[in-house]
Homo-oligomer: 217 residues x 2
Amino acid sequence: MGNETKIPAPTIERLAQYSRPLESLLESGTTVISSEKLARLCGVNPAQVRKDLAYFGEFGVRGVGYDVADLLAAIKKILGSDQEWALCIVGMGNLGRALVENENFKKRGYRFVAAFDSDSRRVGTRLPCGLTIQPISRLKEEVESLMVDIGVISCIPPEAQRAADLLMDAGVKAILNFSPAQVRTPECCVVQNVDFSVKLENLVYHLQKIEETGRPG
Amino acid sequence: MGNETKIPAPTIERLAQYSRPLESLLESGTTVISSEKLARLCGVNPAQVRKDLAYFGEFGVRGVGYDVADLLAAIKKILGSDQEWALCIVGMGNLGRALVENENFKKRGYRFVAAFDSDSRRVGTRLPCGLTIQPISRLKEEVESLMVDIGVISCIPPEAQRAADLLMDAGVKAILNFSPAQVRTPECCVVQNVDFSVKLENLVYHLQKIEETGRPG
DNA sequence: GCCTGTGAATCCATTCACAGCT
DNA sequence: AGCTGTGAATGGATTCACAGGC
């Protein structure tokens, strides 16, 4: 199938999830996998796996399955994670510091090239990864000259919108927002929100239901 | 409307999101808000807001809107975030340390009461929040005696499933999983996954599309 | 006039079931 | 026989549009 169909957002989300077990399978020497087995590893329906992949082409062999290495390469190509991407981060509290050192990001080709904070007491600090925390006033210049692709927001909620505006003004087209505040952007800039406390509140809702009824709600 | 209807999962997710701007509105002294304005603050459809709330009762006044304080209290009650909850955490790398110190968690009544790590070099470390990192071997006893409600997993992927098994064996019914690995649980235990790199790969997919077509895919 | 609460209509995603290839 | 690729069927969730109350 061609490139023209509109791809459902959940499909993109799942493609990334499929790649995790595929990496393990590749390391462990498994060369071929069926949609059924991959589906079980990811906790989804086998038809879902086949349909998701079919949006982008025919990667499998009927009667056999999918070649692990080929499929992983294809998914990475589709997602764009076969390339390196430059990130910057705004807000160097505990979370910000943990993120710039994160091994998962490094392993997948996401490279932090600049770190900013609005608190002058943090500016100038040299981080273990080698970066030095810079003032927000340097953001635009740095982001432009280092050709940052993605901005990560890990500042306090009241500063989140301003961080987003500065990033966009500097030409950033994609934002990963860890602050529990809605960030408004024009259509040309993509935002993904990661709100831990929303997830916790979800859990807590189900816990309550378990206590009341013995089953998750 | 009664308590009997099956509530859609996205509704629960959004209720938590509604509570964020409501908190700000309450602080800023706004007493009443319409579904339209709340919807705009959260980036959703106004009818969606009304329908989500209607699953749990009639909170609004026709011709007027919703009382901010009442609505916030009602949502917290529904979600269970009007209570305090005890958390423990497994895996005290950079991310784990950032999570136990996180101000958002504290503010919302989520209290870390124990921290564990499988690496003996980390065990015994006293954390700024006052907790001391304990060995995994102490997990079951501690979790039981401290009556932990929720387990947070922030260890490396190959250890994630074992961490989940230990937590469940100790009676934990809800898990927040930060490791990029699928965690298998029986139906009686709820899991929420927070996978940063999946979100990043999502962004990168859209970035590629922007480069190709000038518009997000 | 304004805004909520809600059935009806629409839209979208998931799952089924089987044709088609190896 | 086995497993993919895919139209058709199902199942949910979102949005519309308006009746009902302030």
